[in-house]
Symmetry: C2
Subunit: 338 residues, 2 copies
Amino acid sequence: MAAVSIRDVAQHAGVSVGTVSNVLNRPGEVSAESVRRVQEAIEALGYVRNDAARKLRAGVSTTVGFVVLDGQNPFFGDVVRGAEDEGSKSGIAILYGNTDEDPKRERTYLDLFEEQQVRGVLISPYGDINPRLERLRARGIAAVLVDRFSGDGRFSSVSVDSVAGGRMAVEHLIATGRRRIAFVGGPFEIRQVTDRLAGARAAAENAREHVDLEVVATDALTVADGAAAGARIIARPRSERPDAIFAANDLLALGLLQALIVDGRMLVPHDIALIGFDDISFAAAAAVPLSSMRQPSRMIGRTALRILLEETADPELIPRQTVFQPELVVRASTTPRR
Amino acid sequence: MAAVSIRDVAQHAGVSVGTVSNVLNRPGEVSAESVRRVQEAIEALGYVRNDAARKLRAGVSTTVGFVVLDGQNPFFGDVVRGAEDEGSKSGIAILYGNTDEDPKRERTYLDLFEEQQVRGVLISPYGDINPRLERLRARGIAAVLVDRFSGDGRFSSVSVDSVAGGRMAVEHLIATGRRRIAFVGGPFEIRQVTDRLAGARAAAENAREHVDLEVVATDALTVADGAAAGARIIARPRSERPDAIFAANDLLALGLLQALIVDGRMLVPHDIALIGFDDISFAAAAAVPLSSMRQPSRMIGRTALRILLEETADPELIPRQTVFQPELVVRASTTPRR
DNA sequence: AAAACTTTATGAATCGATTCAGGCTCGATT
DNA sequence: AATCGAGCCTGAATCGATTCATAAAGTTTT
């Protein structure tokens, strides 16, 4: 076990530990000769900085915690990737936690990040966690909400306008001739779900003609829950079935699509149109290519991490809300019937 | 800024710092009365253990690094999830790094994990990184290869028998009447790719009748590369096109499928059969439900983390190779033509 | 040539949890 | 009564990087 410390490097280079530390952290203030000698020693001894000691003394961490709602969802995979890219520019690594829409897991991860004294936390929250985040802030750990608008402005956030997205999706369904629309989504503890529903409601109410909007609740935003919801819809008498579905995300939509296709009684898009949300890369490759509301997922991750770093650099900064606009992507699943 | 230390807790509880530490780490050796007082003080002051100090002194870390080949691939999402589940049992968090098949990023992450002195590293490697892992081992950081057999047995590994998987996939294609098979995959620095190809070759050579097996190389294992490969195959004169494709993973397969469907000249499975590898959850929801070789992804993650923890507990353990068998999942994309 | 700066280097003090040799109490053993 | 051991507690030393007051050497200004 090597265990080469800064002291060994100093000795080998014939300088003091302070100088080695300076070479590591502010090489500009050290003579070129010393820099060279120290770097040689580091090379020769295979020295690797001990991050624990550094963190303890300097109080700065090089890791950022990311609490994700659903690690299985490619959308979050893309967001994390964006954050990772931005972080690697400044040597920041991501400590990763997947809550799977479970508040207990959410708490556990936040506790862990607190012990780790991460530089900051990115989180796509489940339910209301402001109090918890306030406590982290009191400890000097900033937080940025991801994919979720911070209504009270207590924290910065990077999100997509889910209300607008919901509205656009349903307006599109109406424009293509649908009048009996089902919103499939849940749980309603997830803000994005309620926002998308609110947008859908607004679109239905503002339509020129009468539009029915019903809500089909799901337990989670997964393919399996989508398939289950699809089965329930199929089981209804023909007259009570909707002629369009707006699913709260693409996983649900793909599950619904699967259920509808396997059953075969209702054709997409002829009998029933289907639109999702997120535009994950698999939406285009679906059995019937899926219309969706595209979110700039990677950009969301990049932006969130950038803001987080800015805030940790200057804690006086006022929280700001960054909202991207979603984009309607029309594919076969919402083609108008003839 | 609170900054409550173990010293404050000790004072508040009227005991020494050593006792507080004992309550935290081996409560059995402390009187019930002291435990109670210390826990009250912790509660009252809102004390949170400083992991950096703990790590520095005790030399044990509660994080494990996970270097993943392709964070976009849901397969790895599942594997990470498995590791996370297993880790949460013992309070282990995952430090996450996505290399995107880039050796430079791979190195960067390993450096970072070394500085962080993680408990151990799980890695699905690109190319040959044994030397690098040996160095980590010399520093007391164990590593377990994920989704990759360790040929020389220098490290433990948890993988799926890719050769067998490749063989089974191609045997299935042959059994359903295909004779001109294309293997689509790459880059060949990725061991899984070469293994799956080797299995495919074996199946082709052992077939009763003559079977053609050609290789269509791709730059990466992504949907986009799959679509590009599909375009190249379509562009050929009809007589030179294969009647079946074995794609090195499902992302490629979905890309291929997309290209074939958009073009429309070759129907899947009638003109050309298609099978992938991994059985990601989107395979079943594809335009033509995709046959695939299923890997027990979550189990791979769980097992890998368990082995890693066992090895860090006892460094004398001999590396062991855990190999799961893949399972053929037949769907519409390889239905025999009539 | 003295004074006033600059530049660069030094090394002890520090961060907070853990460890461990040593101390105290009290009941059991001789 | 002396000795021993079990049980529990104490607090100084420690891990390794950073910081900062201090000093030494070199340069410019007066």
